[in-house]
C-alpha cells in the first residue's frame, strides 16, 4: 500500500497536484476547514466554497461545519458553484501510476464543484488506491454510470508559446486528501 501511495504522490505532484494523507477523518476535516479560511473563503460572491454531497460527510454535522467557515455551502447548484472559490468533492478511486483520480460523476454537482471553482479539494479514501488504469476500469464500469470522470492534476494549457500555464478553464489548484478509514484494509 505505502509503495503504491508513494507512487501516486510522486506522479500527482509531478503534474502540480498537492497530496496529503490523514489517518483520521477528523484530521482531514480540520485541515480542510483551516485551508478554506486561509484561502479567504467568506460569505460573498466569488469567495464561496461549495461541497458536493459525499460519503465523507456522512455522520458529520454540516450545519455545525458551516458555522466554522462562513460562505461554505453544501446546497450545491450551478449559480453558487460559478461564484465559488473552492470546490470540494470526493473521488471514488485513485490511480497510482498516473497520479489520477476517478469518479462516477453522473450527478452534476460532482462536476460543478470540480470544474468551476479555482481550487478543487478532492477527498479519497486511502483504501481506494489502484496501481493502474486497467485496474481502475474494473472498479467503475460504463454499465453502471453514464459519466465517468478522470482528473489528473489541475487544468492546464500550453497553447501560447508552449509555456505550461495552470488553470485555464478548470481549477488552477488541485489538493488531494487521502483519509484512512478504520477497519478497512489499507
Amino acid at each position: 500500500m505505502d509503495g503504491v501511495f508513494e507512487t501516486f504522490k510522486l506522479r500527482a505532484e509531478a503534474v502540480s497536484a498537492e497530496v496529503h494523507r490523514f489517518s483520521h477523518k477528523n484530521e482531514a476535516l480540520a485541515f480542510i476547514l483551516n485551508h478554506l479560511n486561509n484561502a479567504g473563503v467568506r460569505d460573498a460572491p466569488q469567495d464561496y466554497a461549495v461541497w458536493a454531497s459525499c460519503p465523507f460527510l456522512d455522520g458529520l454535522d454540516q450545519q455545525q461545519i458551516s458555522t466554522q467557515v462562513p460562505g461554505l455551502i453544501f446546497a450545491v447548484n450551478r449559480e453558487v458553484s460559478a461564484l465559488a472559490k473552492v470546490g470540494i468533492s470526493q473521488l471514488d478511486w485513485a490511480i497510482a501510476n498516473t497520479g489520477s483520480l476517478m469518479q462516477d460523476a453522473a450527478l452534476v454537482d460532482q462536476r460543478l464543484v470540480s470544474t468551476l471553482p479555482l481550487i478543487h479539494i478532492a477527498l479519497v479514501r486511502s483504501d481506494r488506491l489502484v496501481p493502474d488504469l486497467p485496474a481502475a476500469l474494473t472498479k467503475i464500469r460504463p454499465e453502471q454510470t453514464n459519466y465517468i470522470s478522470f482528473i489528473t492534476g489541475p487544468s492546464r494549457t500550453a497553447d501560447i508559446e508552449r509555456v505550461l500555464t495552470i488553470g485555464v478553464h478548470g481549477p488552477e489548484k488541485l489538493i488531494i486528501i487521502f483519509y484512512d478509514v478504520p477497519g478497512s484494509v489499507n
Binding site: 506522479r11 509531478a14 503534474v15 447548484n77 450551478r78 460559478a82 501510476n97 498516473t98 497520479g99 489520477s100 460523476a105 453522473a106 450527478l107 452534476v108 462536476r111 460543478l112 470540480s114 470544474t115 468551476l116 488504469l133 486497467p134 476500469l137 464500469r141 460504463p142 454499465e143 454510470t145 453514464n146 459519466y147 465517468i148 470522470s149 478522470f150 482528473i151 489528473t152 492534476g153 489541475p154 487544468s155 492546464r156 494549457t157 500550453a158 497553447d159 501560447i160 508559446e161 508552449r162 509555456v163 500555464t165 488553470g167 485555464v168 478553464h169 478548470g170 481549477p171
Partner: protein, 712 residues
C-alpha cells in the same frame, strides 16, 4: 506545383516565430516523449492499438450498429450519415428547434472537417471555440498550424494583439494574464450557451461510451453546463470493447504531449441530469465522410488506425520548418496529407503530398503503426495515374528507362560540365538551374564511371570461388566510382570476387518516389534480369536507397501494379540483397575480415542515413566497424535526422532541403569532428556539397572509403 503553394513554403520557412517554436518543440519532444514512455513496451502497446483499431476498421458497420443500439437504449439519439451537409443540417435543425443562440465547442477536428462553425454562424448562432489555441485562431481568422497545438505559430505579442483587437482593449503579452483573460471571457460563454459540441477520442461499441480527453477541462464544461450535448464522431473512433480504451489512453497522452495522462478524461455513456434537474439531450453524430470507403481500401485501411496524436508532425523534419499552414487544410502533417486526400479530395493532396521527404521518422513513433510515407507514396502513384506526370518529369523518366541512352547522356554530361567544374564540384549552374547549386555544390560527374573502372581492377581469384554482385546505383557509378573501388578492395580482402552486372541500371527509386510506378517497374525488371544472371551469394549495394529499392520496393511496386508474375524473381533477388555495412559486419564477425591492430585514427562523427537506419535497421553496424577500425565516434545531435537530400526532393523543393541541410551542418560542426562519415552516397552529395559551399574544412566520406585501408 502551384506557385501559391511554393510561396506559402517560402513564407513559412522565413517565419522565425513559426520555425523557432516548432523547432524547439520538436527537439524537446524527442526527449520528453521517450521519458513519458519509460517503463512501457512501446512496440507491444502499438501492436495492440494497431490490432484493435484494425479490427474496428474491418467491422465498421457492425460496430456502428452495436454502438447505436447501446447508446439509444439509454436515451441518446444517434444520427449516422456519410454526408457532411447532412451533419450540418442536423445540428442546425436541432439548434433551431431548441432556440439555441449560443454554442460552445471543445476541440473537434471532425467539426472542422465539415466547416461547421461557418454554417452555424451564417445562421446567426454564436459559436465559441473553447480550447484556448482554437479560440485564438478563431479570433485571428486563421487555420490551425498544428493538430494538437493549433496556435503554436503565434507569439504572446500576437495573441495579445488579437485579444485586444477582437475582444477587449489593452491586453499585455503576459502569458498567465492572457490565459486568465481567456478563462474569464470563456466562462461567460460556457454559462450562457444552450448547446455544447464536442468530438470524441474513442467511441466504444460494446458499452456505447464516448471517451473525451482535454487538458484544459473545457470538454467537462461543454458536457456539463449546456442542456444539449452534440458529439460529432468520425467512424474511425469506433472500437469494439471497453477495454480497448486502455492502450489508446495509455499511448495518446504520451505521444501527443509527452504526458502520462491528460488532465481530464470523460467517459460518457448516456444522458446525465442537467444543473436544473432536467435530463440532458445527448446526440451522437456518427460521421462517415468516406471513412467506410477508406476502411475498404486495401492500402489506406491502415490510416483508420490513427489516434490523432500528431506525433508524426512532431518528428517530421519538414513539418518543423513549414508548420501546418502550407497544408491549407484542417488536417496537417504526414497523416493530415492522407486524411485530406480522403476526407476532402485526392486532388487536394496534390501539392502537399510532395512535402514528404520519405525519411521514415514518423513510422518509428506512430502509435497506430501506420506506414505514413508508404501511404503518401501511394497517393503520389494514384495522383500520377489520375492526372499524369508533369511533362518534364515524364521526359526525364523516359531517358532513365532507356539504360543505354541514360548512360550515354551521363557520359556526355561529363564533357559538358567542364567549364563549370572546380575540382570535384560544380559550384554554380547557369540560368534556371542556378537554384540547384545555391545551398550546396553538386558533385562533378566522374571522368570514367565505375562500370568502366571496375574492369581494370585486378581481382585475385577467389579461393572458394565465392562471388558477389555489386549494385552501384547512379551516384556511385557516375559521380563517386571511388566508393565502388573501395568496396571491391574490401571484398577481395575477404577472398570474395565482385562482379558488376553490366545490365544494371537506375534502381527506380526516383521514379517510384515520384509516383511513376510503371517506370519503376521497368527499372526493376531490368535490374532483376541483370542481377540474377550470375550465380552470386549476395547482391551488395553501398547506397541504402538502392538497397531498399532492391530489397523491398521492387516487390511492392509489382504488387501495386498487380504484376504478380514478376514477384517470384523480385523476391528471389530481395533475399540476396544486403547493404554494405551489414555485409562487412557479417564478414568481420565470421573472421573473414580483420582490422589492423591498435590503430588510433582520431575523431569522426557519424550521420545515419534514413533508409539505412529506419528501413534496413542498420545503425550500429557501421558504428561498430568504424570503432573497430580505430575511430572514436563523436555523436552529433540528431544523428539520425534526415539531411534534406531525399533524392530528387532536393531538386524539387530546394526551399525545404536547404534549411534541413543547414541544421545538419550545424550539428556536424558542433560535434567537433573533422570528418563526417555516412553510408549513403546521396547524403555524401548533400552534406559534402553543403560544407563545400560554406568553405568548411570538414571532410565527408562514405564508410566504405574509411574502412578500405584499415583492414588486414
Amino acid at each position: 506545383m502551384e506557385t501559391k503553394f511554393r510561396e506559402s513554403i517560402v513564407k513559412a520557412v522565413h517565419n522565425p516565430n513559426l520555425t523557432g517554436a516548432l523547432g524547439r518543440f520538436s527537439e524537446a519532444y524527442r526527449t520528453s516523449r521517450l521519458k513519458a514512455y519509460e517503463g512501457y513496451d512501446f512496440e507491444a502497446l502499438r501492436t495492440q492499438i494497431a490490432e484493435r483499431k484494425s479490427y474496428a476498421a474491418s467491422h465498421l458497420d457492425e460496430l456502428a450498429d452495436l454502438f447505436t443500439k447501446n447508446v439509444e437504449a439509454r436515451g441518446t439519439k444517434v444520427f449516422r450519415t456519410n454526408d457532411p451537409a447532412k451533419v450540418r443540417e442536423y445540428i442546425l435543425n436541432l439548434a433551431r428547434e431548441n432556440g439555441v443562440k449560443s454554442v460552445v465547442k471543445s476541440k473537434s477536428m471532425a467539426s472542422e472537417e465539415i466547416h461547421l462553425n461557418k454554417h452555424l454562424e451564417l445562421a446567426g448562432i454564436d459559436v465559441g471555440e473553447t480550447d484556448l489555441g482554437e479560440w485564438i485562431i478563431q479570433l485571428a481568422g486563421q487555420t490551425p498550424s498544428h493538430m494538437v497545438m493549433p496556435a503554436i505559430h503565434m507569439t504572446k505579442e500576437e495573441v495579445a494583439t488579437v485579444f485586444s483587437e477582437q475582444v477587449e482593449d489593452g491586453q499585455n503579452p503576459d502569458i498567465p494574464k492572457l490565459v486568465k483573460f481567456a478563462r474569464g471571457k470563456m466562462r461567460t460563454k460556457f454559462l450562457d450557451a444552450q448547446m455544447g459540441i464536442t468530438g470524441a477520442n474513442i467511441a466504444v461499441a460494446e458499452t456505447g461510451t464516448l471517451v473525451i480527453v482535454t487538458n484544459e477541462g473545457n470538454a467537462r464544461l461543454v458536457t456539463t453546463l449546456p442542456k444539449i450535448h452534440v458529439a460529432i464522431v468520425g467512424l474511425e473512433k469506433l472500437m469494439e470493447k471497453f477495454d480497448d480504451v486502455v492502450p489508446v489512453l495509455t499511448a495518446l497522452p504520451k505521444s501527443a504531449t509527452a504526458q502520462l495522462m491528460t488532465s481530464y478524461v470523460s467517459m460518457i455513456s448516456g444522458p446525465v441530469p442537467n444543473t436544473d434537474g432536467s435530463e440532458k439531450q445527448l446526440h451522437v453524430i456518427l460521421m462517415d465522410n468516406r471513412r467506410t470507403e477508406m476502411s475498404q481500401d486495401p492500402k489506406f485501411k491502415q490510416a483508420m488506425q490513427c489516434i490523432r496524436c500528431a506525433s508524426c508532425l512532431n518528428v517530421c523534419p519538414v513539418f518543423r520548418l513549414v508548420g501546418g499552414h502550407v497544408f491549407g487544410k484542417i488536417y496537417t502533417g504526414g497523416i493530415g496529407t492522407i486524411l485530406t486526400a480522403w476526407f476532402d479530395a485526392l486532388k487536394a493532396s496534390d501539392d502537399i503530398q510532395s512535402l514528404c521527404i520519405q525519411c521514415g521518422n514518423c513510422v518509428e513513433v506512430c502509435p497506430g503503426k501506420i506506414d505514413i510515407p508508404g501511404l503518401i507514396l501511394e497517393l503520389r502513384r494514384r495522383l500520377a495515374v489520375e492526372q499524369g506526370q508533369p511533362f518534364a518529369q515524364k521526359a526525364i523518366f523516359s531517358v532513365v528507362n532507356n539504360r543505354k541512352l541514360f548512360h550515354s547522356m551521363l557520359r556526355a554530361a561529363y564533357v559538358m560540365q567542364k567549364p563549370l567544374q572546380k575540382g570535384n564540384f560544380i559550384r554554380h549552374l547557369p540560368f534556371f538551374l542556378s537554384e540547384l547549386t545555391e545551398f550546396r555544390s553538386l558533385p562533378a560527374i566522374a571522368e570514367a564511371p565505375l562500370r568502366d573502372t571496375i574492369k581494370k581492377i585486378q581481382q585475385p581469384a577467389s579461393k572458394n570461388k565465392e562471388r558477389i554482385a555489386f549494385f552501384a546505383g547512379c551516384l556511385i557509378d557516375f559521380a563517386y566510382p571511388e566508393m565502388g573501388e573501395s568496396l571491391v578492395k574490401i571484398m577481395n580482402k575477404a577472398g570474395i570476387e565482385v562482379v558488376f552486372p553490366e545490365g544494371q541500371t537506375c534502381c527506380g527509386a526516383p521514379a517510384r518516389y515520384s509516383g511513376a510506378y510503371e517506370v519503376a517497374a521497368q527499372n526493376a525488371t531490368d535490374n532483376i534480369n541483370a542481377l540474377l544472371a550470375d550465380d552470386v551469394t549476395y547482391v551488395v549495394s553501398a547506397c541504402p536507397t538502392c538497397t531498399v529499392a532492391l530489397k523491398r520496393d521492387f516487390v511492392s511496386t509489382f504488387e501495386s501494379l498487380g504484376q504478380t508474375d514478376s514477384l517470384p524473381r523480385a523476391r528471389q533477388l530481395a533475399d540476396k540483397v544486403i547493404d554494405f555495412s551489414s555485409l562487412v559486419k557479417k564478414l568481420v564477425d565470421a573472421g573473414r575480415l580483420k582490422f589492423k591492430e591498435g590503430q588510433q585514427l582520431g575523431k569522426i562523427t557519424y550521420h545515419d542515413s534514413c533508409h539505412l537506419k529506419r528501413t534496413l535497421h542498420a545503425s550500429q553496424e557501421p558504428r561498430e566497424l568504424l570503432r573497430r577500425a580505430g575511430y572514436e565516434i563523436a555523436e552529433m545531435y540528431e544523428a539520425d535526422m534526415c539531411c534534406g537530400m531525399g533524392g530528387s526532393y532536393s531538386l524539387k523543393l530546394p526551399e525545404i532541403s536547404a534549411p534541413i541541410l543547414e541544421r545538419k551542418l550545424v550539428n556536424i560542426k558542433n560535434s567537433g569532428a573533422p570528418l563526417a562519415v555516412m553510408d549513403c552516397p546521396g547524403c555524401v552529395m548533400q552534406i559534402r556539397g553543403g560544407l563545400d559551399k560554406q568553405n568548411s574544412t570538414i571532410k565527408v566520406e562514405h564508410t566504405v572509403q574509411r574502412l578500405a585501408d584499415e583492414l588486414e
